[in-house]
């Protein structure tokens, strides 16, 4: 049965009506109209739907609305703006760290979580932190350089 769920979304108190088992990703994209978190597999295997839940990287596709309720959710739309970009966004643009860009949102959110817990990660730490995020275009090395650049910013 649908129910009301309250949570913080990109800094704003938000209430949605959803099925308890409905995925956070479905609610973000369908109900809230925030499209940056992307559906790649729905299985928690690719990382395209990564968002921050209380500052930690989580797959929105296999997080139920019931589990997300009461938490602080940040999507790419809440990470930074053109006027005030997150250092990662500025660095991804400078490094042109994408081809199709479909995985980019998840890459940025996973990297943001990494930099929160480790502001100056080494290259290997970055690669390991991003290992759950898949890219098929082969932009991995550009992404690693962008994260390194953002960490130094």
């Amino acid at each position: 049965m649908p129910a009301e769920f309250a949570f913080t979304l990109n800094g704003q108190a938000t209430t949605v009506r959803a099925e308890p088992a409905q995925s956070l990703l479905d609610v973000l994209r369908g109900t809230c109209g925030l499209k940056a978190a992307r559906l790649g597999c729905g299985l928690g295997q690719c990382g395209a739907c990564t968002v921050l839940v209380d500052g930690e990287a989580r797959h929105a596709c296999d997080t139920s609305m019931e589990a997300a309720a009461g938490h602080d959710i940040t999507t790419l739309e809440g990470l930074g703006t053109r006027a005030d970009p997150h250092p990662l966004q500025a660095a991804f643009a400078l490094e042109q760290a994408l081809q199709c860009g479909f995985c980019t949102s998840g890459m940025l959110m996973c990297s943001a979580a990494l930099l929160r817990r480790n502001p100056l990660p080494g290259e290997q730490e970055i690669r390991e932190a991003l290992n759950g995020n898949l890219c098929r275009c082969g932009v991995h090395n550009r992404i690693v350089r962008a994260v390194q650049r953002a960490a130094k910013a």
């Binding site: 479905d26 499209k35 295997q45 098929r136 082969g138």
Partner: protein
């Protein structure tokens, strides 16, 4: 420069206004027919237009292609967008520039030579005018005169430093992919089908399943047509529940006969074959002293894009509108018209970008699915997105291949004879080319269109499985044949580089093997046989220089280096790769050094990005990937059952571009695939002394070959 050939698209659509339009404020609108599939082509095309017009690139708007307003440039494939669309736009922009210059000169009363142009402003005798004032509708009606393209005299492209315009949109989460479109009144749809082309439906299962689907909250309609089951719902959550119920029901009994993973070559060779000669040469040659013969191959591969195939469709007044991430809007339009019995003019296909596309994936099929289901939606637009499992199991596979090379050298070690035989299914079942629709769903309705056997394009337009089957080296006696396998238990079609992946592996492994057997340096041995091709030698030497090939480094145990080279399609970009591979339980590529010659470089960063991305994708195919097939179809249905390389698997990559400003631009997106596979194989041999000839070079296959070869 050597003028690029006039592309087919421009011959068919010679009117200038078909390619370029000018707003009164001077903004330029370009309408090419090639589409963005993650490669950033519209940015390269924008740079070409801006350079020829001598305006700032940001003044050029790129119109998303639609059958409403775009020229038919066929399919965005084969690394031809810069070659075809880029050349067409270069000719068109040069015409527009010179026509505006002439008009301005006439207005002022000066010879055209007295008119200067900078930053989009024509000047003479203190007067000035921009494109917006000079280019009226009449001027744009002219047929493009291709004589206006000026020689470059060695001038490199000056605008390439600017980054892609869509990058910021994507980094700030503003960009709308096709998956994000949500027109008013939209309803969600799903289509379920067996994983094989033909199957039996268990009708008793269906009679139990139907009410269970209709009972899901939010489901508005369930449709059945032959093998297809369609569901319309108000939200995606209801469709996810429907997918679960269909999967558990076991509705279809598949019947594909597919070989075991280690019996693929034998299977290919034992099917009915359509054999053709690709190239033969019987020049005078010294007697053969030694002969090298070996078999190479790969299994079926999967596209495995990170995004899901998606389309929107809407029926209005007997017409059909479709939004698709297809590679060919006109081809798709044609086959949708065939499938639904419409005039082509009643169908509009507009392109909207999806996730990265590396060949003929399910984009066209999901467009059929959306259109098929939208007939039941009462005029509402239907959004249809495949699930990950559908993405992996419905999309065409990249064909398996077997390649046999027999090469002979004379007493001095020079190549005297080379034969190459290729066994593979055709590499294309694309829509828009036959008398009946080549769309998966159209083959699975109650009145199905016939399944079309995969074909190859003719060799002179790039071929298919035979791509790069003719070696680039000087050899007096040549015999290259392609054997098209006339069996298709599961659908196959084009994937990046087509046959070049295996053909280049085969040729370059052979060259490496001969050089080692003769105790010659593999680089020097190749160069000796490339005296006729300076550009080929240049990229090989550049890759060797980057990798310090000639320096005898300390040989680490289990670490090796290998070389691979090809000119893509034998007519496209040149690419040489040096790989450094470390082998323990499994092989890991540590570094790749790549040199490429793509003619005049339009956008250096974009070209490097494509070449590196292609190499990283090729390393994943080569070391790791093979579809898991069974009688019920594709079993590798997600990222656990079809793993691809991850961040810790990916090598460091260095790319050098050999700029050739006086040569026509060549596509960059596929040239590194074959050379990377070959360089990896040769590096594994350097590390272990084992020749890996059949991909993937997985831990299991390495172990098997190590035992077989007694290393």
């Amino acid at each position: 420069m050597t003028r690029p050939p006039v592309p087919e698209g421009l011959r068919a659509h010679p009117r200038l206004g078909q390619w370029l339009a000018v707003a009164p404020d001077g903004r330029i609108r370009a309408t090419p027919g090639k589409v963005d599939i993650g490669q950033g082509i519209s940015h390269a095309l924008r740079l070409i237009v801006a350079e020829e017009l001598q305006v700032a690139p940001l003044l050029v708007d790129m119109a998303p292609p639609s059958t409403r307003h775009s020229p038919d440039e066929a399919v965005t494939s084969g690394s031809l967008s810069v070659q075809h669309s880029g050349a067409a736009l270069r000719f068109a922009a040069a015409h527009l520039r010179e026509a505006c210059r002439a008009r301005f000169a006439q207005r002022i009363g000066v010879p055209t030579a007295a008119v200067t142009l900078a930053a989009g402003v024509f000047r003479a005798r203190g007067e000035r005018a921009g494109y917006g004032e000079l280019a009226d509708a009449g001027l744009l009606e002219a047929a493009v005169d291709t004589s206006h393209l000026a020689p470059r005299d060695g001038r490199a492209s000056a605008l390439g430093a600017l980054g892609r315009g869509d990058v910021a949109e994507k980094v700030f989460g503003e960009f709308q992919y096709i998956q994000d479109l949500a027109p008013d009144g939209m309803v969600h749809g799903a289509v379920f089908r067996p994983r094989t082309l033909q199957a039996q439906v268990h009708e008793t299962v269906w009679s139990r399943l139907l009410p269970r689907l209709e009972a899901i909250e939010g489901v508005s309609q369930v449709v059945r047509d032959g093998l297809l089951v369609g569901v319309l719902a108000e939200g995606e959550h209801a469709l996810a529940q429907a997918a679960e119920r269909v999967t558990l029901a076991g509705l279809w009994q598949g019947e594909a006969e597919v070989p075991q993973p280690h019996e693929i070559a034998g299977w290919l060779q034992s099917q009915p074959l359509d054999s053709v000669v690709i190239e033969q040469r019987q020049d005078q040659a010294p007697a053969a002293a030694r002969t090298f013969r070996a078999d190479y191959g790969r299994g079926w591969l999967q596209h495995a894009s990170i995004g899901l195939c998606c389309a929107l469709a809407q029926w209005t007044d007997g017409g059909l509108q479709v939004w698709s991430h297809t590679q060919g809007i006109f081809n798709l339009r044609r086959d949708l018209a065939l499938a639904f019995g419409l005039q082509v003019d009643a169908v509009t296909v507009s392109h909207a970008e999806g996730a990265g596309c590396y060949g003929h994936n399910g984009a066209d099929d999901v467009a059929f699915d959306a259109a098929w289901l939208a007939r039941h939606a009462g005029g509402r637009p239907v959004r249809l997105q495949w699930t990950r499992q559908q993405e992996m199991t419905n999309s065409p596979l990249a064909p398996a291949m077997a390649v046999r090379v027999e090469a002979s050298v004379d007493a001095e070690g020079r190549l005297v004879a080379w034969s190459q035989d290729v066994w593979s299914q055709g590499h294309g079942t694309r829509p828009g080319r036959g008398a009946t629709p080549a769309l998966l769903g159209a083959w699975q309705t109650a009145e199905p269109a016939p399944v079309l056997m995969a074909v190859n394009q003719p060799p002179n337009t790039g071929g298919g499985s035979d791509r790069n089957s003719v070696p680039p080296y000087a050899v007096p006696r040549l015999d290259v044949r392609n054997h098209r396998v006339m069996a298709m238990p599961l659908r196959v079609s084009a994937m990046r580089a087509l046959g070049a992946h295996v053909n280049v592996l085969a040729a370059e492994s052979t060259m490496d093997e001969i050089a080692r057997a003769l105790d010659r340096d593999p680089l020097a041995y190749r160069l000796e046989h490339l005296a006729h091709d300076e550009r080929a030698r240049a990229v090989l030497q550049e890759a060797a220089r980057l990798a310090r090939w000639e320096e005898p480094g300390a040989h680490e145990p289990g670490v090796g280096r290998g070389l691979g080279f090809a000119r893509y399609k034998n007519t496209g970009a040149y690419c040489a790769v040096v790989a450094e591979v470390e082998v323990q339980q499994l092989a890991r590529v540590r570094r790749l050094w790549i040199a490429a010659d793509v003619g005049l470089v339009v956008h250096p960063d974009g070209a490097r990005n494509q070449i590196e991305g292609g190499a990283i994708q090729a390393a994943s195919w080569t070391l790791l990937e093979q579809a898991d097939l069974g009688p019920a179809g594709v079993r590798s249905e997600d990222w656990e059952t079809y793993p691809i390389h991850r961040f810790t698997d990916v090598p460091a990559v260095e790319v050098a571009l050999v700029d050739r400003p006086d040569s026509p631009s060549l596509g960059a997106g596929e040239c590194s695939i074959g050379p990377t596979a070959a360089a990896i194989a040769n590096a594994i041999h350097d590390a272990l002394g084992i020749r890996m000839r059949v991909m993937p070079f997985s831990a299991d296959n390495l172990m098997r070959e190590a035992q077989r070869q007694g290393a």
